[in-house]
Symmetry: D2
Subunit: 367 residues, 4 copies
Amino acid sequence: MAGSTFGTIFKITTWGESHGKALGVIIDGCPAGLSLCEEDIQVYLDRRKPGQSSISTPRKESDQVEILSGVFEGRTTGTPISLLIRNTSQKSSDYSEIASYYRPGHADYTFDAKYGFRDYTGGGRSSARETAGRVAAGAIALKLLKELGITVTAYTRSIGPVSADLEHFDRNAIYSTATCMPDSDADSRATAYLKECMMKKDSSGGVIECITTGLPAGIGDPVFEKLDANLAKAIMSIGAVKAVEIGDGIQVSTAVGSENNDTFYYDDGSVSKRTNHAGGILGGISDGSELILRAHIKPTPSIFSPQETINKNGENITVEIKGRHDPVIVPRAVVVVEAMTALTLLDACMLNMTARVDYMKEFYHNV
Amino acid sequence: MAGSTFGTIFKITTWGESHGKALGVIIDGCPAGLSLCEEDIQVYLDRRKPGQSSISTPRKESDQVEILSGVFEGRTTGTPISLLIRNTSQKSSDYSEIASYYRPGHADYTFDAKYGFRDYTGGGRSSARETAGRVAAGAIALKLLKELGITVTAYTRSIGPVSADLEHFDRNAIYSTATCMPDSDADSRATAYLKECMMKKDSSGGVIECITTGLPAGIGDPVFEKLDANLAKAIMSIGAVKAVEIGDGIQVSTAVGSENNDTFYYDDGSVSKRTNHAGGILGGISDGSELILRAHIKPTPSIFSPQETINKNGENITVEIKGRHDPVIVPRAVVVVEAMTALTLLDACMLNMTARVDYMKEFYHNV
Amino acid sequence: MAGSTFGTIFKITTWGESHGKALGVIIDGCPAGLSLCEEDIQVYLDRRKPGQSSISTPRKESDQVEILSGVFEGRTTGTPISLLIRNTSQKSSDYSEIASYYRPGHADYTFDAKYGFRDYTGGGRSSARETAGRVAAGAIALKLLKELGITVTAYTRSIGPVSADLEHFDRNAIYSTATCMPDSDADSRATAYLKECMMKKDSSGGVIECITTGLPAGIGDPVFEKLDANLAKAIMSIGAVKAVEIGDGIQVSTAVGSENNDTFYYDDGSVSKRTNHAGGILGGISDGSELILRAHIKPTPSIFSPQETINKNGENITVEIKGRHDPVIVPRAVVVVEAMTALTLLDACMLNMTARVDYMKEFYHNV
Amino acid sequence: MAGSTFGTIFKITTWGESHGKALGVIIDGCPAGLSLCEEDIQVYLDRRKPGQSSISTPRKESDQVEILSGVFEGRTTGTPISLLIRNTSQKSSDYSEIASYYRPGHADYTFDAKYGFRDYTGGGRSSARETAGRVAAGAIALKLLKELGITVTAYTRSIGPVSADLEHFDRNAIYSTATCMPDSDADSRATAYLKECMMKKDSSGGVIECITTGLPAGIGDPVFEKLDANLAKAIMSIGAVKAVEIGDGIQVSTAVGSENNDTFYYDDGSVSKRTNHAGGILGGISDGSELILRAHIKPTPSIFSPQETINKNGENITVEIKGRHDPVIVPRAVVVVEAMTALTLLDACMLNMTARVDYMKEFYHNV
């Protein structure tokens, strides 16, 4: 089935395999008139690319983006924006061996079960490289949201047992540390933990948190298109995510109502809340507070210690995965979470513009 | 925006407010030839209805379903099935007071922010009564899945601090206990805890778990339409859910790869896994194991102790919510989780039928 | 498959069989704040109902509409509007005979081929009664368009060989004549022709034309969601329509460019066209002129003269259709064309509100 | 809005401007296992490209297609297929002049009205070059349909006053004549007519007909997703199409029922029809007969004689369009009609596979 399209009005379609000729994304439904150049997108892709630190695979992927359509004289035209990233660092030979067996924790077996065969080079379509297209599209969504006064910021909340201390939140650290934590001290401890994992030929999971500020109240829809429902889908669609939390998340199940309810009050005439257990969403609609979500990411399934598994000949075998793999997925997925959040919010903001007859009347009486 | 439709092929549209004339659901895309009568649906609605125990609101909602279309001589015809539930127990007067203020933890404020006004009687469209339509549609999905050998079972995993002990899983207890726990002993302790909450004019959260057996490998799609992504959306779209976990869920973030990877092996010729940390999904596609998910439900926001909030006149006020409210949402939401899971899985099973050219050739050469 | 939903933002879902308990429609995505009562809808349903003239079936269908949800204190709330029409005049016995054979020109055979069986009473889901839901939803779209200054008017352009003379266009005649022609003289001649058809136990086709005024330039989208493409789908989805024309329609194929191009000019500062061969659409986007379309409707397939056909036992047979059938479909379909046009245009107007970044900035800086 | 995606399961997204860097299409939802190479697609693109005859623009567009993803070892993998066509023959200077004014019969004015500005080079996104992506995707749909025994053939039915004589239908002539008529004699007369048009600095319209054989009964859905409704949208979405007919099309409006009804009979045990006025569709569902449709194409709006129009400075002006333009759109649009028909039918065939519970049971009991 067609599973590579996301969004209702601001609609993106990603394509491409890890080791194919190229990968990319089509953004359809981007409003006309947004100033846009390749550099606007490249800065986000650069945050995703590997080979940037001692805790990242030394594999190089330049991920250079090219705008092929939808931008004229520096501005979006309202027609589809096609973004292309040529693959340059594929070594298909690294993967010839895995054609015959199913790596634990990977999608090898399920792809074969579904399609009868698979592009096994570098994980094919199930590779994390697929997210390059999401990040490129997300860069545009983030730019447009900024024009509306909305800022989306994701960062590493924890890696294995090491959590960032948000009391000393340091925004710059997100972009300068290898772990993308907003806390240099936690970054050091997490890096030490990851090196330990690497020595043990093992890998680590972690948590990404994402905060959105400036989102007005009223965004999102009741019932199936709740803002949190669409965010949950967006985030869970990122490979390796196994849980999504909104606001207090899992803690609500052990809380009592008198604690968990957020008290409304008027703060100099405007509606405010004394706490934000809800994470900025009530009944699927934004309440004007910070929007808070978290993604729990599993440890990299490609580990270098021997593992039991099966091959296509019906044999139980033991394998040792080779190649170049990150000991943790989290830091490179931070910008993906940011991108998916932005795409979801922008689409909801667009849909919200027709929520009232008065909005339509004002618009069409002014056209 | 249109937010009341769910699904791609097996598509449902719910409608109706808590205290309106009626509510219901249209199921479009149900295959022809399924034996169906009102009783098939009623049994599920009866699991959702209130007033059934000491820990439930004494409010009565008979929730009697009527099939208005799409069934002819006892079988579905392939055309839309319209299900109607007349509202009978509305006491709009109970709610007249809340028209003027915003209840903490409810969607009152966000609805007004979005639409400019709201149907405030009984929560209007944001009431949990909306889920009656989902359950009615889910009953049909569950019946169809059963024909394919797929069984979906949800139950209460925990209420506040009290967890069911799955070592002594008792399926019957799900349907006979007030808490819908598969463990009578835990049910007793949870009931005691809830009574304590009620005495304190407070409420409790909890966790619902859902297990699917018989789902073949290969269901779901890569990228945005991952099976877990669609399940996350489906479950998060249920009011009061604040976190969704698949398989080990939040535990993966502190796990290491060597533990978290599930080992494949051949079990008498067929593919099996020694563990199921993944919860039955790899790369967004089912792997043939049990599918496991959990929903974290917040405490009922309607509590009877005094709460600070705001009214529409710009005043900070203190309110005491009246009416008939459950001290915990969890037990009545169990069947809703079951329904949403079934709807998601059935749709994915339908979409999967065109995954291979060979499937199409076999189908059309036999027509 | 789910085929009963139409629209992207203003989304309607119809349901119901000709001789079932009821039929209806859900309108989801209607903006909040539209004043709406049952009478607003009833006037449109009354234009569709049979039994109103000597050239219409004497079959009575009261088609009384009931609003079940989505309206509170006389205004739409932004949530789904459920409209119900109870069936009252079903005589299933009239149809028991046709269960066994396939009426020429009807969907009996194709429904059986698709679904394996069918609800044969009154044509089931393929009955023209299905359009009652469209008309009810269309009434709301028409009311909302009117608030935006847009008026949609359909009428009978011709019946068999008799065409209305648009030089003497009489708007009142559309609503007062049995043929819905805007020309009383043509109405008389068409009525005479239809009576002749009835005497011969035969039926007639005809043409419906629909004119929209007040539609601003810029509505509709390039490529697949062209305004004319969506109108063509909307109109062709009405049973019995076999051709759809926009503007000059079929005449363009024998025209030359110098005639067919419409000349732009400034008329007191605003853009105008000297002719309107294009029917108000260029490149799939409205150009600010009148929008013109035509639907060609086939003769009623239910005729009373003997016809050869087949039954389900593999036999070639001769049948004589009984029951109460209109000698022409056109007059009752006029309001359906109006409804489908309005639904398409309103949805396009809603989608257009996000066409430019500036629109979004203005909206969100004012919220 | 996002208007560049077509299809529900077999979903295509086109992108690219006439004079941008490249254009292309993503095909998402193509079943796995279809043998596919670039040459399979190139043959269809070659039918669309200009510069092939005396009645076509001498403009050269090589339209060389490159497969960037979704194919592995010569077979489709089930993941998105990205097809790229680099633009090579753009002479943007030809168009610099038209930036300031609105060409009659083109989308220049409507694009500006919608988006505030436009890519004016070569018509930008509203250029017929956009259809290259449709043809490339259609090539894949046509190949897959062939595997199911379904053949789609489009040809020029008429150009201006000259019609092909179908009594002497010559399939080869479609591919060998400059007009794509299945009748060499008519081709000669049409060519003469077109040369006359060119001498007069004028252009001609025409009709394309498309016949599908091998389509089983039961394809398509009742109500809004009728097969003819989706075909009407598909065909009307091709620029320059102003009318779409199914079967007898416009002739039904002057026919009587006794002529227009097609008689069913058993032909050696299988269902057949003595006539095919319906064009193979009854109630929106295929009846097993040949599927017949026609598209009426307007004359090329770019003519070389002087035309009155307006510029962006508010002035009425006279312009003479320069550049390289075909005197008739029809021959190059033939393969586009074939492509859009194939895309629509394939999607409907895929959706049909879940029409009955028995189909699902058979499929899942065999997986």
